[in-house]
């Protein structure tokens, strides 16, 4: 039987209360939301917090929708909510593509966006999707809210810019009218972590690519991004040759490791091919006001 080691439990009733609890209990305390990363880690003794601070009651972290010229995704938004939201699909189909292949429907009912990002697993899907769209993470501490570009958020495997005493409260994604986006993943079986996955966002203007965002996961891409391939694309005409070359560049710059999901050469091949595919789909979606499909 797998059960976590003993810990104490606190239920936060507001963001300031959660921050006060984090301060009182110090670095051996952990925030718990959906628990679908942390509880398995605790069962395996890979995490052994002394205190859990439950933020599930903080409705202010469940906001999801357009605010001004950005999409705001609260940290406590469940995967299933992100997948079900029509505005998310209209402006950022990449998130619907990704959520369809994250875990399974029952896990998606419980797991949260913020929890996935804070777990910072090097194979996590949303990390690549948010990297592709260049989101901003909103991190709140005793001194107020810090805005952290998502590509500075992940410091390494299982390590983020959220300092002790701070809380990820949400993500903001600037809406680019007419942009297209897409996500694609290769997995061994339904609901598994990716062998490799890629996401992209493309904004076109005057017949050329005005903005390119490429996210990669499970292939050792630094900050879940492919900046060299992005730089190659900007200013070029969209098309099969450019997308294939961008895939080749992204594959050359990532650093996959062999594991039970496959050898490094296979993952590198997937990185290039998936980048090519998501660029093609993002370009097809770009310019269509409804975005999705």
């Amino acid at each position: 039987m797998q059960v976590p080691a003993r810990f104490e439990y606190e239920r936060a009733n507001s963001v300031p209360h959660a921050l006060a609890l984090l301060e009182r209990h110090g670095p051996e305390s952990r925030v718990i939301a959906g628990g679908h990363s942390l509880i398995p880690m605790m069962k395996l003794r890979l995490a052994r917090p002394e205190v859990l601070i439950d933020i599930n009651g903080l409705a202010e972290l469940s906001a999801l929708g357009v605010e001004g010229d950005a999409l705001l995704v609260g940290a406590l938004v469940r995967h299933a909510e992100l997948l079900a939201d029509p505005e998310v699909g209209r402006y950022f189909p990449i998130f619907h593509d990704a959520e369809r292949v994250i875990a399974d429907p029952v896990v998606r009912n419980r797991g949260t966006v913020g929890g996935s990002l804070c777990q910072a697993d090097p194979s996590e899907d949303l990390s690549a999707a948010f990297a592709a769209v260049r989101a901003t993470a909103l991190v709140q501490g005793p001194g107020g809210v810090r805005e952290v570009p998502i590509r500075d958020f992940h410091r390494g495997p299982y390590e983020t810019a959220v300092e002790p005493g701070e809380l990820l409260t949400g993500l903001r994604v600037p809406i680019r009218p007419g942009a297209g986006s897409a996500y694609e993943k290769v997995e061994r079986r339904a609901g598994d972590w990716p062998v490799a996955a890629a996401g992209s966002l493309l904004r076109l203007g005057d017949g050329v690519i005005a903005e390119a965002g490429i996210g990669l996961t499970a292939v050792g891409a630094e900050h879940f991004a492919a900046p060299e391939a992005e730089a190659y694309l900007v200013g070029r005409a969209p098309g099969a040759a450019a997308f294939a070359e961008a895939g080749r560049i992204a594959a050359a710059h990532c650093n996959p490791r062999a594991d039970q999901r496959g050898p490094a050469a296979y993952k590198r091949h997937l990185a290039g091919e998936l980048v090519r595919r998501v660029l093609t789909r993002a370009a097809a979606r770009a310019g269509s006001p409804e975005g999705e499909e």
């Binding site: 039987m1 797998q2 059960v3 976590p4 080691a5 003993r6 810990f7 104490e8 439990y9 239920r11 718990i32 628990g35 679908h36 509880i39 398995p40 605790m42 069962k43 859990l52 439950d54 599930n56 299933a80 875990a103 399974d104 429907p105 029952v106 896990v107 009912n109 419980r110 339904a190 609901g191």
Partner: protein, 194 residues
Amino acid sequence: MTVQITVTVNGQPYTRDVEPRLLLVHFVRDELALTGTHWGCDTSNCGACVVHLDGTPVKSCTVLAVMCDGQQVTTVEGLERGGELDAVQKGFAECHGLQCGFCTPGMMLTARWLLDRDPDPDEGRIREAISGQLCRCTGYENIVRSVRWAARQEAGRRGADQGRADRGGADRGGADHGGAGRATGEGTHEGTRA
């Protein structure tokens, strides 16, 4: 450290002092003796432990009981109403939706949730809904048929209710006759929806 929690399970409130590390699956099985919820892989993979938490299926091996204070839980024991089995339960009985039965409670709870949101799911929708649940007998074909059977039966019942409303209660309308599911298989459109 223990924490007092009150959780309403199948409509009945239970107050218990629990250790924070107690998982919801063990709370319902060991504290409440509701052993219909099965405890399987312990890693949120197999779905044998699925219960509804505030109306939504969750894997109870990966939820702490203490986090459910003040919330509603429905287990497989709560599917029947007034001694009558839910249409999903009847479907599993009619269509041989179980062999060993280990995955069945979780499968039925997810199926109930699916039908509440999508009363006429095709085979693809059903398979997607249960994609986080493993049948170790690999009896997925009959599980899909069972859910389709339940969908048809409920469509027939809705049709019958509509028929009674339209015709002053004189007609059974398009009420379905159970065994059709076994003959026609899943994913068909039998026209039982009035």
